[in-house]
């Protein structure tokens, strides 16, 4: 399923938008300026990664500070051990689109 998120210019560096799909997806702009999409719910417990602090192209979980690479979804610091799912992001005419992959 492909979803239009917003214009690239409307998403600041370090900013995030939570997409209300099931399960929710976080669209996050890393410090490189690139935009990424990952599953929003932390794999450790119930926290929304769209509320996390962005450093480089990684996001820190707001609850217990696990750190996820936005590109690969891999956690680089405990307590999370399971990667978050990543979704493909496309920029078309200055707008951000996310291809939500399930299954």
């Amino acid at each position: 399923m492909r979803m239009k998120v917003c214009a690239l210019d409307d998403l600041d560096i370090g900013g995030a938008i939570k997409l209300d799909v099931q399960p929710p997806v976080a669209v996050i702009r890393g410090e490189s300026g690139d935009v990424f999409a990952i599953d929003d719910t932390c794999t450790h417990a119930d926290a929304s990664l769209s509320e996390g602090f962005v450093e480089g192209d990684a996001v820190e979980c707001p609850l217990h500070m696990a750190f996820f690479c936005l590109k690969s979804g891999q956690p680089s610091c405990p307590p999370a051990t399971v990667p978050v799912k990543t979704h493909r992001v496309e920029l078309i005419d200055g707008d951000i689109y996310v291809e939500i992959s399930r299954g």
Partner: protein, 420 residues
């Protein structure tokens, strides 16, 4: 090279016994397996509720419709099975023989371990006054404590919370949310000011008072008595005043549980088990982590950190050290607290001066020392603290004028620092 070394060490360790299955112990058990340890792991906790998180006990667990500990499980039965962790829940360790590695369990069994991790945390303190430690008062440290409070809640319209620390404040906020009449008593001149920047403490206090808490500071409790025949409990204050309530909840701190450490003859510091950055105690076979540990910082100073993240980090560090793996840097102290609808975070320590920044998302207070940020706290604005943690780590020099200026992009400080 590093890998082959750690393997040889691991080969000598057939059995790691972890005493205490809370934040530190559970993290250690998990990390041992993650790092490839294949020997036996025993996770022992005298608490029959097993392996769960304490932070929800003063928040969600008091407020939720029903008491469901499964939502707060740290390691559930399935995970323990998958990770091949043998659990001994509801069974205490009665004695520890450092020389032989023997743990004597309360059910009469004896375990022999090559390495022992003490993650025994602490116990809630009582009040050293008549009635201050018995059935008339409630503490809040375990799931059983929270259950006991919940059982009395329905018949308790008026509750006294004694103690101005984080757990006391959280209990106050939770009881107010439940529509209770709350009398909040603190021995200090101001609650929370010992753990948070002054303006943040003031903000929280004002919030709880406006939500209905009746706050009494500089209070000396003389005794706590059964209020028969009217029922309930009566607090006798030092000046003779009496306060009648239906329930008394104590949040007056915790004492590290060093019983086993003492019987094993381990060195203590600041009332807790002295450990180095590899969580090693004074006995080569025994490690300690979490609320029970006192971390040596060098130059004769120790730090004790009774918060979730530090316990989890130390448990992880202990597991890595046991396996001969490098231990990550000690993180900047950090905790969160949820008080009603307010989410508070604090990182670092207090300084000489507090600078306030009134961000639209929520108030931030920076603790400054010699022109550098050494601590930060915020209300409903956690990412401001996360950013400040990076500035603290970078030992960044920042002008107070910039900090106060909400038009100034704080993130740019990180970029500058990286550019250096």
């Amino acid at each position: 090279m590093a890998i082959s070394m750690s393997r040889s060490v691991v080969a000598d360790i057939a059995h790691v016994a972890i005493v205490g299955a809370s934040a530190a112990g559970a993290a250690a058990a998990r990390v041992l397996r993650q790092e490839g340890y294949r020997g036996r792991i025993s996770l022992i906790d005298r608490d029959p509720d097993g392996c769960y998180e304490r932070p929800p006990l003063s928040k969600q667990m008091l407020l939720a419709e029903s008491f469901d500990l499964s939502a707060a499980q740290l390691l559930n039965a399935d995970e323990c099975q998958t990770l091949d962790i043998a659990t001994y829940f509801g069974i205490g360790v009665d004695d520890l023989q450092a020389a032989t590695g023997e743990l004597i369990l309360t059910d009469g069994r004896t375990l022999h371990a090559d390495v022992i991790l003490l993650a025994t945390g602490g116990k809630a303190s009582c009040l050293p006054v008549p009635g201050g430690d018995g059935g008339l008062v409630h503490v809040l440290r375990s799931a059983a404590d929270a259950r006991r409070i919940r059982e009395k809640l329905e018949d308790s319209g008026r509750i006294a919370v004694i103690g101005g620390g984080l757990i006391g404040a959280e209990a106050v906020a939770s009881f107010l949310k439940l529509g209770k009449e709350v009398c909040w008593l603190d021995g200090a001149a101001q609650p929370l000011a010992h753990v948070l920047p002054q303006p943040i403490a003031e903000y929280l206090i004002a919030h709880h008072v406006s939500a209905g808490a009746s706050l009494r500071t500089d209070v000396r409790i003389g005794a706590i008595r059964d209020n028969s025949p009217q029922g309930g409990v009566c607090l006798e204050l030092g000046d003779g005043e009496r306060i009648a309530v239906d329930m008394v909840v104590l949040g007056v701190g915790m004492v590290p549980d060093t019983r086993l450490a003492r019987s094993a003859g381990l060195a203590l510091a600041a009332g807790a088990i002295a450990v180095d950055k590899k969580q090693r105690t004074s006995h080569p076979r025994i490690y300690a982590a979490g609320d029970v540990a006192s971390l040596y910082l060098g130059a004769g100073t120790y730090s004790r950190n009774q918060h979730w993240k530090s316990a989890e980090h130390q448990g992880m560090a202990a597991a890595r050290a046991i396996l001969g793996l490098p231990v990550p840097e000690t993180p900047i102290p950090w905790f969160w607290s949820d008080q009603g609808d307010l989410h508070v975070e604090m990182a670092g320590k207090k300084g000489d001066e507090t600078i306030l920044r009134n961000e639209a998302k929520g108030l931030v207070a920076y603790e400054m020392k010699d022109g550098r940020i050494v601590g930060a706290a915020s209300i409903n604005n956690p990412n401001a603290v996360r950013l400040a943690m990076r500035l603290i780590r970078a030992d960044a020099h920042i002008s107070p004028t910039l900090l106060r200026d909400t038009g100034f992009d704080m993130r740019s400080l990180l970029r500058q620092d990286k550019g250096k």
